[in-house]
Symmetry: C2
Subunit: 104 residues, 2 copies
Amino acid sequence: MHKKDEYMLRDLSEVELLELADLFKMFADSTRIKILYDLFDGEKNVTEICEDIEMNQSAVSHQLKALKTAKLIRSRREGKSIKYSLDDDHVKTIIAMGKEHIEE
Amino acid sequence: MHKKDEYMLRDLSEVELLELADLFKMFADSTRIKILYDLFDGEKNVTEICEDIEMNQSAVSHQLKALKTAKLIRSRREGKSIKYSLDDDHVKTIIAMGKEHIEE
DNA sequence: TGAACATATGATAATATATTCATATGAACA
DNA sequence: TGTTCATATGAATATATTATCATATGTTCA
């Protein structure tokens, strides 16, 4: 059960476990889920996202940063605004799985 | 974008969004992920889980309760001990998806 | 260049969450 | 029945997280 004094559960190391938990934290907040789900439609800028999910700009920007750090979304500048989009196909799958679970 | 004054993002209601976030909260803590991952092997009692993940009994019991409330695990008594097991196939899929994401 | 717009960020306060400790509950068996 | 083993639970503390406010940064265009 151990490898070089580091906790390990089968093929999942302690580090990977923490990374997994951090990843799922991104889905563990309704504001962030709203943002991710909103981006299912495709690329949107911050203002659009704020309007869609009815949250203020600062809160949204903070969460966008968290999602970007987690590599779930990416951004690019277009003129004055910044366009955000999903950066990983797993996002849709993970949310879909969660949706199936709660619908049972 | 609205339905009877209730926030709605396409086919996902505000209530469902909160349920989704609550579900993913279960995966957003390394102790709980360890427990879930430990149960990939099959049914285990509390003492075994504590040993496997190297956490004290009280902490594990508290988290088992949370996971059970979320319907991710189930339990049955067998003599003096209580056996826990996964209660949903989505658990494995969700963790697998997360694992793929962090491995990229 | 400077005004207007879009987004990001730091600090703070409010809230939520996890672990620990002490103790309770419940089953088994001598 | 009462002692032991296994698990659950309540309270308290410590820590993490989120939204808000104020302000900073960066872009466009007159």
